[in-house]
């Protein structure tokens, strides 16, 4: 776990969260009734209310991989939504399915072996899953953009930075080469790259890691997308550059009123940027809520474990807390709660049945029998 940057000095706004009508809960409720605390919505509202500021809504998304050794459930019934200009952080260890979900949104899952088996992805009210490849292409890079983790390999080594940026402009905005190039130079200066004219003519191998990530961002923002999916944008960079990139994303988000889905395994990054947070484990969301809920009233043992294992300067404990064991084999997930084998507070029910979400307030929920 990278050392976080001063967890507590960022003021967490105690947003009570916007009215969450129309908020959608996972559908496959189990039969066991939940007597005590929270209401369970049995089924989905048939017609999703077209709340104007609700940009993206994922409902019970299932993406499976048919490999030789068997079926891997990369993303097993995930639901979350993002409003305009809002930042949703998706957190979890590697292999928890956070990237798979993101890639499914843009339907970039390699067809053999992966397949989107179920659920819906509503973007501005229409379901992307029903889109034809051509329609999808109009969305990609134009309305939803994505940046990746490895700046070293994410840029085409034989094309100059300027060319790679102007490519999507030419594609979506119909610019001619010259217009696109001048626009690209503008974008490069927008993302804070010094001497953009020369940089535009240079090849990726001539740029530093941080600069390449900025070029990636310039490419993504070329067509002013409404949603930016950032798949661990800073993990491969060293800490100082990391902060600059996050601040850049924040600034551009404000400037263009863009929603951001930030995928990371670094709680420090989440603390700094996220409005809403979804914690994923083995292809499912185990806890979802505002960043304030997550950091100040974590409910799920896994989240608690994550928070405790984050190094904290003013935390006196000398030895580092680690979550025992490792992620179960995706080929044969345990019957009950996937976290059960590593859960310090596990009960016997956890081994038999999969927990379903229990709500604390109307936004914050956690899937754990502790709160049944």
């Amino acid at each position: 776990m990278p050392l976080t940057v001063g967890l507590n000095h960022k003021k967490i706004t105690n947003e009570s969260g916007a009215p969450n009508n129309g908020h959608v809960r996972p559908a496959d409720t189990t039969n066991l009734k939940n007597p005590l605390k929270t209401k369970i919505y049995k089924d989905f509202p048939t017609k999703c209310t077209d709340n104007d500021d609700l940009l993206l809504q994922i409902e019970n998304l299932k993406t499976f991989f048919h490999t030789e050794d068997g079926l891997i459930r990369g993303c097993d019934g995930v639901s979350y939504s993002v409003k305009k200009g809002q930042t949703l952080a998706v957190v979890g260890e590697s292999g928890s399915g956070k990237s798979v979900t993101a890639m499914s949104i843009l339907k970039l899952i390699p067809d053999p072996p992966g397949k989107i088996a179920g659920g819906r992805i509503l973007f501005k009210g229409n379901d992307l899953l029903s889109f034809t490849p051509d329609e999808m292409r109009k969305i990609r890079g134009n309305e939803i953009a994505m940046i990746f983790q490895e700046p070293m390999t994410s840029l085409n080594p034989v094309m100059t930075a300027g060319e790679q940026i102007s490519e999507s402009l030419i594609l979506h905005r119909g610019f001619n080469k010259k217009e696109a190039m001048s626009n690209a130079v503008e974008l490069l200066s927008l993302v804070g790259i010094p001497a953009p004219e020369t940089r535009a003519g240079e090849y990726p191998h001539q740029l530093s890691g941080g600069m390449r990530q900025r070029v990636m961002i310039a490419i993504a923002l070329a067509c002013r997308p409404d949603l930016l999916i950032a798949d661990e944008p800073t993990s491969a960079l060293d800490v100082t550059i990391q902060a600059q990139i996050l601040r850049l994303i924040k600034k551009l988000q404000k400037q263009f009123g863009m929603a951001v889905i930030l995928i990371t395994h670094d709680m420090g990054v989440v603390a700094e940027t996220a409005d809403m947070v979804a914690v994923m484990y083995c292809g499912r969301i185990v806890e979802y809520g505002t960043s304030h809920d997550i950091f100040f009233s974590p409910r799920h043992p896994y989240l608690k474990g994550l928070l405790r294992s984050v190094l904290n300067i003013d935390n006196e404990e000398d030895d580092l807390y680690i979550i025992e064991g490792n992620i179960p084999d995706p080929l044969n997930l345990p019957e009950g709660c996937p976290f059960e084998p590593r859960c310090p507070e596990k009960m016997d029910i956890c081994t038999k049945q999969r927990p379903e979400p229990f709500f604390f307030g109307n936004v914050h929920y956690a899937c754990c029998w502790l709160h049944a």
Partner: protein, 312 residues
């Protein structure tokens, strides 16, 4: 880029010196007497002596070498058999060689690169399996066996194509009819290995991250494959084509023998058998120069397509 080329061309001179010394050494080892070739069965002893004098065949080793190199560059090195300046003889044979070689090269590239790309994109499809098995056969079957089979099929049985020989420039129907089979046979091996290389390098590249970035940008699929993946695949393909050209020379000799094609390869082979030392010397030297120059062109082609390699 320019001074790199000049430096590489300058390197050619020591290279040529070494090659010529090596060839000359081998030739001198050869038993047999070129003078005899000239005079034939009824040559008398002093007649042979006279001819040896004329071609300085029995003066010391290095004198002959210097004389030969001198004559070669001033163009007076005459082939004993063809009684003509060596460079001219080779140039006359150059046209059929180029026609055969370039057609085979173009045919191979035109077929193998698309085949490689399609079979890498449609992996494990029927197209992929058929092209890969044919490619495997292509690199396993001896050039001359395919030649003999084709001659039997098209010339002997169906009598559609001429069995062998050179029918004049390829821009005449007769010339083309003669060129079809040898060009196909020669290009078949090269086609096979280039397809395999294209497919495997494309497979590697399609896993790369920037392909995913391109798709995320909404680039059309065939653009992703051609513009992004294939442009990067050009380098391993160029390497393969580079050393295929070396095999083109060797393969050409065999193909030329099967189809009695009057190319430079066969000229060199006959020259060696005929003990025509000046011609052997000229042929091998010119072929080596061509080979080195072609390799230089492939390296320069690298420079163009691969920005990472900046020739200082």
């Amino acid at each position: 880029m320019l001074n790199y080329t000049i430096r590489r061309l300058l390197l050619l001179i020591p290279l040529l010196f070494f090659i010529s010394v090596m060839i000359f050494g081998i030739l001198k080892l050869t038993p047999g007497d070129p003078a005899v070739v000239l005079l034939g069965e009824r040559a008398t002893e002093e007649a042979l002596e006279l001819t040896r004098e004329k071609y300085a065949l029995n003066s010391p080793f290095y004198v002959q070498y210097v004389k030969m190199m001198g004559n070669f560059f001033t163009g007076e090195l005459k082939s004993i058999y063809y009684k003509e300046n060596v460079i001219m003889v080779v140039l006359k044979k150059m046209i059929p060689t180029l026609e055969l070689g370039l057609t085979a090269l173009m045919l191979a590239i035109a077929v193998s690169i698309p085949a490689g790309i399609i079979s890498s994109v449609k992996r494990n499809s029927i197209f992929d399996y058929t092209s890969m098995t044919t490619a495997l056969f292509g690199i396993s079957i001896p050039v001359f066996f395919t030649g003999i089979l084709l001659i039997y099929l098209f010339a002997v049985k169906l009598k559609v194509l001429p069995a062998s020989g050179y029918g004049g420039s390829m821009f005449t129907i007769e010339g083309l009819r003669h060129l079809v089979m040898p060009a196909f046979v020669l290009s078949f091996t090269m086609m096979a290995s280039t397809t395999r290389i294209t497919r495997s390098s494309m497979l590697d590249l399609l896993q790369e991250d920037y392909i995913r970035t391109a798709r995320a940008k909404g680039v059309k699929e065939n653009q992703v494959i051609l513009k992004h993946a294939f442009k990067n695949a050009l380098m391993p393909i160029a390497t393969n084509v580079g050393n295929q050209i070396a095999r083109l020379f060797a393969g050409a000799v065999l193909t030329e023998t099967v189809f009695a094609w009057p190319g430079v390869g066969r000229l060199a082979v006959n020259a060696i058998f005929r003990r025509d030392e000046p011609l052997v010397f000229g042929c091998v030297l010119i072929l080596s120069v061509i080979y080195v120059v072609v390799n230089l062109m492939v390296d320069l082609f690298y420079g163009i397509i691969n920005p990472r390699i900046r020739y200082e």
